[in-house]
Symmetry: C7
Subunit: 94 residues, 7 copies
């Protein structure tokens, strides 16, 4: 992994539907902006963001729920990732 | 329950119409964004959210009223839940 | 009454037109978002709301004027109530 | 007068066109949101409003200029009044 | 002059095109919201406005440039004036 | 030059296309809101602007890049100028 | 390079598609506002921006990911650059 998110951003990788089912989480099928289960692959340093101190609560490997259209998608070594702010992560799942 | 909301978020489960009636709460039928009675199933840690200290006032098991379209819906072990900020909860009912 | 508003919210009950007339208050008939006279039936605890200290100035039994579309309507034991922030209450009437 | 505005609100009564002319103030006829000359009939206590200390500068009896569509109209004992924030009052006239 | 602007507001009087030309200032003819040259005729007291201390930098008699649609127009003793915030004044001209 | 910008504003004069080319800066031709190269001709005093201390970093004679539609255009002694906030200046060029 | 970004801005140069591929980063082809890989060519001084202290975390030569439409494009010595705020840079890549 050679991507380092800035500030309060994290990089996440969407989990395949199969994995999603295995963990017992199924997304609401008809919701237009349906939530997403993803794995955290990189975490920014936090610090002062827009004048406010942000402490990173997430770690690489955490499984998280986010809203589908939050963040920016990038492809890295053929895999798709999403870069988004920690505040766009709704919950951790374990 | 294996979902842990982040920051000032809570996870709630909508109550069935029957339960709703039993508690004496009936939703206004014609209101387009009608309120919802729900039970709190998980509560985030609170703390500093967007630079402001947030103290969680809700506990697991609380029955609450919220606006229908607040938050994000997820399915967990076949049940639908909603993740939303504590500030989107209007009132507790007991 | 088994509804407890959170934070700086209050629960109010619209007064019937008759009562409204008795108190000498008549709403401007043609205004699209006409004000409402209501009675306060529950008051939240106030405290820190969105990072700002809010002191509740209203008490149960106060008669108040509000804008019609502020807040969220709920039905409780067959009666309609509105939950709204104290800052959406324009004035007290006595 | 039995209406007590909350926070930084004031209650004003529009002056008739005749009175307006007498004081030498004539509103710009074609302006869509034309200013209004009014008399202050009730003044809220001020204090902390939205986290900021507000000192009331207006007194009952002050003649003021406001924008037409600011505030909320109410009828009281057959007269029309407007409830609005002190910050929506542009100037005093004497 | 019997108009006293509140807070950080000033009252200005548009200068006639002739005067404008004399001072060497000509407005850009095709700009839709073209700037205006005006004379300050009354200055509010400044002080705490929306929680922030504002010091008035303008004096009666200053010639200023503003944007055309800022502020509210009033007629006073047959003359048109504009009431606007000091922060809507772009520059002084002398 | 008889124009004194207020607060954190500066007055700039667009450079002719020829001058622009000479300095090696060519604007992207198809961009709808294409940047502008301009020369600073007057600088406001800075100070507290909207409750925040602003220090002026620009000096008369600086060549700067701005966005085309920022600020307000005025004509002064037959020349067109733009008045805008220092924060709307993107970069200095030398 | 003769361009000095102000405040918390940086100047970046988009990397050619070939270079992008070489580093293993491929942009998501169908995303409407697809991210961009770019090289930082100039970094502003940071400091107090909009009342908040901003520390620059980027250095000349950093490779970064940004959103396509952030910032303002300029041409300098025949090359296209983008000027944008550091907070519009999502991540560093190495």
């Amino acid at each position: 992994m050679n991507i380092k998110p800035l500030a309060d951003r994290v990089v996440i990788k969407m989990l395949e539907a199969e994995e999603t089912t295995k963990s017992g989480i199924i997304l609401a099928g008809t919701a237009k902006e349906k939530p997403q289960v993803a794995e955290v692959v990189a975490v920014g340093p936090g610090g002062v963001v827009d004048g406010k101190e942000v402490k990173m609560e997430l770690e690489v490997g955490d499984r998280v729920i986010m809203s589908k259209y939050a963040g920016t998608e990038v492809k890295l070594d053929g895999e798709e990732y999403t870069i988004l702010r920690q505040s766009d992560i709704l919950a951790k799942v374990d």
